[in-house]
């Protein structure tokens, strides 16, 4: 018999109330887990896509906050960038979210400069790559192929133009796995954006240092008004969707934390009101006020920790479910890690402590003789 077991026994005493409280906390924590993992996953996936391409710096229009930055004429900017020191390659990229099938949600259509380094990190699993910059073919990510029910040799219609699927590729970034890929020239034609790109990818030479990268950024700022050079991480963190999803996950953490603490608070307050006489007995038996506080806070923490653990399981389930529903496939890639789970459990413990503190304080302040007289 110890404090922990005693606290557990006290919670078992009211299984329905304990169950409801744990469920309420679990729901809140599940929302936190699902939204946070998706928000982080979303950010990581974009970053992974950029990193995997081997891009060191990305040049976009200033204040580009959309999913993809707004398009601009590439030629002059590209030339100016190519002249900067340590710049090895400058490659344009055009991207749109387009619906290519009535049965499937919109997918990303990427246009990459034919023969550029961007293609190198992809793994062809079937068929072949486009043979020239004008060949009217696309290659599609493995996940997109599955979603659109397309295989090599099939046809896809993009913005009213028909393309043959030349091959299927795999990437370690879910954004690319769920996308259709064509040469930049074709993408510009099909979206009626001749000569335009969303971003210019810069690859620097092997000698370039961090200072050189900073120098390139500074040069872009000074010589190319309206443009900004940033790392992929900076671009992703500026992305409106990433920002919104992160803000939503933060808001959820706040609301779930607050609601969780209130639920624990309410439950513990009810519990100590019911157990006033028992607390009086414990005090009469020589329990110190600190031990009473420990007991009540332990009960609160056990409740919230159980809710936290159940919430993690539920949250993982929700995120997994969302990843697999047709509308979301290929767009989210929830990220879980042990430190994340521990943080969620720490959050649970914190809300248990917060919710349990006042009831514990109130219980510890009871006058033993008055508590013993309590009916």
């Amino acid at each position: 018999m110890n404090l922990f077991r005693f606290a557990l026994d006290n919670l078992y005493r009211r299984p329905a109330r304990t169950g409801l409280t744990v469920s309420a906390i679990a729901l809140g924590i599940a929302a936190v887990v699902a939204l946070t993992s998706i928000a982080w996953g979303f950010e990581a996936s974009w970053q992974k896509a950029n990193d995997a391409r081997g891009t060191d710096l990305i040049v976009t229009r200033v204040a580009s906050e959309n999913t993809m930055p707004s398009p601009f004429k590439a030629e002059k900017v590209q030339q100016a960038l190519a002249e900067l020191p340590h710049v090895k390659e400058v490659v344009g990229l055009l991207s749109e979210m387009l619906s290519v099938s009535e049965d499937a949600p919109p997918v990303f259509v990427f246009g990459w400069v034919y023969g550029s380094y961007l293609w190198e990190h992809l793994k062809l699993v079937d068929g072949r790559w486009p043979a020239s910059r004008e060949e009217p073919v696309v290659v599609i990510g493995a996940l997109a192929a599955e979603m659109l029910h397309k295989k090599t040799g099939d046809q896809v219609e993009i913005e009213g133009k028909v393309f043959q699927v030349a091959g299927i590729f795999e990437s370690n970034a879910v954004v690319e796995n769920g996308a259709l890929l064509m040469t930049l020239d074709l993408a510009q034609q099909v979206t009626d954006k001749p000569g335009k790109v969303n971003v210019l990818n810069i690859k620097v030479d092997a000698d370039a240092t961090e200072a050189d990268l900073r120098n390139i950024k500074e040069q872009v700022k000074q010589t190319l008004p309206g443009f900004v050079a940033i790392t992929s991480g900076e671009l992703v963190s500026k992305n409106a969707v990433v920002r919104i999803s992160k803000a939503m996950s933060n808001a959820t953490i706040l609301i779930a934390g607050l609601v969780g603490a209130l639920v624990v608070f309410n439950t513990m307050l009810m519990s100590i009101n019911e157990r006033t006489r028992e607390i009086g007995i414990l005090l009469a038996l020589g329990w110190q006020r600190g031990t009473i506080m420990q007991l009540i806070v332990s009960e609160a923490v056990i409740l919230s920790l159980a809710g936290g653990m159940a919430g993690i399981v539920m949250g993982v389930g929700i995120a997994w479910g969302l990843e697999h529903i047709e509308l979301m496939r290929g767009k989210i890639d929830a990220i879980f890690s042990l430190p994340f789970f521990f943080s969620v459990l720490a959050l649970s413990v914190l809300l248990g402590i917060c919710g349990g503190f006042y009831p514990a304080f109130k219980a510890a302040r009871l006058l033993p003789s008055a508590a013993l007289r309590h009916e």
Binding site: A63, E65, N66, S70, P71, F72, K73, E96, M97, L98, S99, E102, P106, E157, E159, G160, T191, D192, K193, P194, K196
Partner: protein, 256 residues
């Protein structure tokens, strides 16, 4: 973003721009809406879903709208992308400084700019939203639409032959967006109502852009429009409005 706002302006008689003063005269409000639509070139791509009066749903349409709008000339080109039945069908429309509106379709024939295009609720005349330039403008109080405050503005046509004689807009002044636009004929019969269903925040000055709109016609046909892509700095090429130029040229020849 500008693109979507400009598009919203065309479709919705609303447009993007910077917030005007909270208290404005009716004419100043109309003028600010007119000016905010100016663009050297834009392109927008739309998904159009039509629900006919009998409840039938024809195949969804994908359209591209290209426009160039200045103080003395407004030109729009509306082109079908998908499905096959509308592909390569297009309409071009122009409103000159004299206020005269003319249109030409892909068959190089003139077309009625007040008629529906692509069997949907889209009407070229509405997309030009000429009422912002009319001289008779009246403020008629405020209203709330979907929790957003807007100023009710009644515009009355200068030309008594105009099939649309009165337009009632409800303008969210800060967002520079007409949240609801009602078009009436000479007998004050409601012809069409355009409503913003979904807005998105612009990066600047609190202006909002329409992401989804609905056009409800008196004949019960419903058209839902969603902007899915576009380019707010579209480069107008020599052949973008070639059909219009040809029409103008022919007219000049005839005059001679």
């Amino acid at each position: 973003m500008m693109l979507r706002v400009v598009l919203a302006g065309l479709l919705l008689c609303a447009s993007a721009g910077y917030a005007a003063e909270v208290t404005v005269s009716a004419n100043a409000l109309a003028e600010s809406m007119r000016q905010a639509r100016f663009s050297n070139g834009f392109e927008a791509r739309l998904n159009v879903f039509v629900t006919k009066a009998n409840g039938a749903h024809p195949a969804p349409l994908k359209l591209a709208v290209i426009g160039q709008i200045s103080a003395d000339r407004q030109r729009l080109s509306i082109r079908g992308i998908a499905p096959e039945s509308v592909r390569n069908r297009s309409y071009a429309v122009e409103r000159g400084s004299d206020g005269r509106i003319k249109g030409v379709d892909s068959e190089h024939a003139g077309f009625d700019v007040s008629a529906r295009m692509f069997d949907s609720g889209l009407v070229a005349w509405d997309m030009l939203s000429p009422w912002w330039g009319w001289s008779k403008q009246f403020l008629e109080g405020t209203e709330q639409i979907d929790g957003r405050d807007c100023l009710k503005l009644r515009s009355v046509a200068d030309d008594e032959k105009s099939s649309i004689r009165e337009v009632e807009s409800c303008v969210d002044q800060q967002a520079k967006l007409s949240l609801r636009t009602r078009l009436y004929d000479s007998r004050h019969v409601l012809i069409r109502t355009t409503t913003v269903e979904k807005v998105m925040r612009k990066g600047d000055a609190g202006a909002m852009a329409a992401k989804k709109l609905t056009i409800r016609e008196a004949g019960k046909m419903l058209t839902n429009i969603e902007v899915y892509a576009g380019d707010e700095q579209y480069e107008i090429s020599a052949d973008t409005f070639a059909a219009l130029d040809k029409l103008t040229h022919n007219e000049q020849q005839k005059t001679k």
